[in-house]
């Protein structure tokens, strides 16, 4: 095997002086500054909300939605896996007997408090039924009361998959 000696970086006088590195860094920032101030049309910043983003990818974790089965009924079986996985404790579920014969359990209440949600997507990973997804592409949610940020089961069911996303 033998031992490979890696030369320690930053030991030369030039490195120790700091000045050359600082100057080159300042050159870089200044170059950006000058370029952008000369012509600011190439800035990455969009003038939101007049200009809406067009580059939200399929992996973007937007506001949640509850999916439906083929017969248009709720997929969720109220297993609480999402609530268990949730690091923010923002999911409030109450289960009930399901009587339509599709399954035996479903949520009576399924609330997500968006103010507490950290959008980590663990609930989506945890769901064994693919019942909760974050593919709505909704990145902006506004309300003027705290209670309006609590999404109910109906609201979550009403959310749909973003049309911008590719069909996979």
């Amino acid at each position: 095997m033998g031992i490979k000696t890696v030369k320690r970086h930053g030991d030369t006088l030039r490195d120790k002086l700091y000045i050359p590195a600082i100057v080159s860094g300042m050159k870089t920032t200044m170059r950006h500054f000058v370029t952008n101030i000369k012509d600011n049309s190439n800035l990455i910043t969009k003038s939101y909300p007049e200009v809406q983003p067009t580059d939200i990818t399929d992996r973007y974790r937007g506001v949640h939605r509850l999916t439906k089965r083929e017969d248009d009924s709720i997929s969720c079986v109220a297993c609480y896996m999402c609530a268990t996985a949730c690091p923010a404790d923002c999911m409030f579920i109450e289960a009930t007997e399901r009587t339509d014969g599709v399954d035996e359990k479903m949520p009576a209440v399924f609330n997500i408090d968006l103010l507490e949600c950290v959008f980590c997507g663990y609930c989506v990973e945890a769901c064994p039924c693919d019942a909760i997804r974050m593919d709505t592409g909704i990145f902006s949610f506004v309300a003027d009361q705290r209670k309006d940020f609590i999404l109910s089961k109906e609201a979550l069911l009403a959310n749909t998959r973003s049309k911008d996303f590719s069909d996979d």
Binding site: V77, A78, C79, Y80, M81, T84, D89, F92, A95, T96, E97, D103, E104, K105, P128, C129
Partner: protein, 478 residues
């Protein structure tokens, strides 16, 4: 001591009792042997074949639940061979199991699930559509639901009804992989102990109608307590949970193994008595029906008690702990008040049976008797007519006898919102049975201690702390 023999378990030499069931011995050694059908209360049945161990000298792996301990036995509970055998059998166990843990109440305390996760069968070799289908939600009658698909046919439930309750409601029907557990036609589960089969069931086939879908078990916290449903004082686990934004709430009682008191089981009434703890709570102190602070009520009570100590009757109840009773008893001795423990309303002859249930539906009458607190009816009635101040402490005797309060000053300590409140001059809420620590003596003179794990949002003081406050207030006045 010839009963003790030397055996070797996983290469370790140990001593064991000759003739004992090997699996019992392994449990005692904290060796976890997967098993479904074996249960110490129900004995060996040997049908699940999960508890296989290797025993040197025998050609094939043996089930440890049907192997008596013998001198010189060399047992292996680990190793590639035996684990492969367990995996094989577990795979068969799962081959027709719906694996619907998400909707199964047992998930989290399910043995099959544990073994499944440990074994890592994330893919079945049998396709889902080939699985044998059976009925999913069968109402077995009293308090129990059955899911025939999830059943592993360990027959613990049928053996419970056959051997423990002798009610024989359950049986196995059909053959091979179509075998299902069910009640006999036209029969329902009627036993007063039927919910024990929910605990016995190692999988989610039998679930409690009461607890069904209420909570996932891994959210629950638990502490050890006793049941206050009758003077048997069965040992229980109290499963409770303080949900976000909600108050601490009890979700279920589970029996706790206690060979001095109840063995492995409790009755259904006791099990469902947790509802009394959650419902109908008294939270606010009041003086003459007006809500006041605890402090004001305490001052008021101290005033009344110091004013007429000789004209005061304290009525305690067998729902109080030994410590509380002793405290009040000491108070009466020091202050000249009189004390009674008259509480005939807790007797219910129809409740008793020859298993666990007793006719006295209060947990601590034996403790009250040990403190020599008078329960005599005649004495009580005499005192009641003489005394002008009646202090009722957690005693429901006056629930339907409010007319006895005429011309009297009534002080009520209660954890329940009772009708007596309307006739009482001063009302003070106290912590309920499971919210306080204390010891209780059951009808068989076994004293058990509760250390409460419940944390309410707005804690109401325990009787002990409130009473001490009253005592010190009284002293200030004197």
């Amino acid at each position: 001591m010839s009963n003790i023999v030397n055996i070797v378990i996983d290469g370790k030499e140990v001593e064991a009792e000759k003739g004992a069931v090997l699996i019992d011995y392994l449990f005692k050694q904290d060796i976890d042997i997967p098993h479904f059908c074996y249960h110490p209360a129900l004995g060996t049945d040997g049908n699940c074949r999960m508890c296989m161990v290797e025993i040197e000298g025998s050609k094939r792996p043996q089930i440890s639940c049907d192997t008596p301990v013998k001198e010189g036995m060399v047992v292996r509970t680990q190793g590639e061979n035996i684990e492969q055998v367990r995996r094989d059998i577990l795979e068969l166990e799962l081959i027709n199991h719906p694996v619907d843990c998400p909707t199964c109440d047992q998930a989290g305390e399910c043995k099959l699930q544990d073994y499944y996760m440990a074994g890592g069968f994330y893919e079945s070799r049998l396709e889902a559509e080939s699985k044998v289908k059976a009925k999913k939600a069968v109402d077995l009658g009293k308090n129990v639901m059955l899911d025939q698909e999830r059943c592993v046919l360990c027959t613990r439930c049928t053996r419970f009804t056959d051997e423990i309750t002798h009610t024989n409601e359950l049986g196995i029907f059909s053959r091979a992989d179509h075998s299902v557990i069910s009640t006999f036609p036209g029969q329902e589960l009627e036993s007063d102990y039927s919910m024990n089969i929910v605990d016995l069931c190692p999988v989610g086939a039998l679930t409690s109608k009461d607890f069904r879908f209420n909570q996932r078990v891994w959210f629950l916290e638990s502490f050890e307590a006793i049941c206050s449903g009758c003077s048997k004082g069965c040992s229980i686990h109290v499963d409770h949970k303080k949900e976000k934004y909600k108050d601490d709430q009890i979700f279920r009682f589970r029996p706790r193994e206690d060979h001095d008191v109840n063995g492995y089981f409790i009755c259904d009434d006791g099990r469902l008595s947790y509802k009394d703890e959650n419902d109908n709570r008294l939270n606010d102190a009041s003086i003459n029906q007006e809500t006041v602070s605890t402090k004001e009520a305490l001052t008021n009570i101290a005033d009344v008690l110091t004013a007429n100590p000789n004209d005061t009757l304290l009525l305690v109840s067998p729902f109080l702990s030994n410590e509380e009773l002793a405290l009040i008893k000491e108070y009466t001795l020091n202050n000249g008040t009189t004390l009674s423990g008259y509480s005939p309303q807790y007797y219910d002859e129809s409740f008793a049976d020859d298993m666990l249930r007793t006719s006295d539906r209060s947990p601590n009458r034996a403790g009250m008797m040990a403190l020599r607190i008078n329960e005599n009816e005649k004495d009580f009635n005499e005192l009641l007519s003489q005394k002008k101040v009646i202090v009722v402490i957690e005693n429901s005797y006056f629930e339907d006898k409010a007319e006895l309060f005429k011309d009297k000053k009534v002080i009520l300590f209660s954890s329940k919102d009772t009708k007596v409140k309307e006739f009482a001059n001063t009302v003070l809420p106290v912590a309920s049975f499971l919210e306080k620590d204390g010891s209780y003596t059951n009808s068989e003179s076994v004293t058990q201690h509760i250390k409460s794990g419940i944390r309410k949002n707005a804690p109401v003081g325990t009787l002990t702390s409130l009473w001490k406050a009253i005592e010190s207030l009284s002293k200030e006045k004197a």
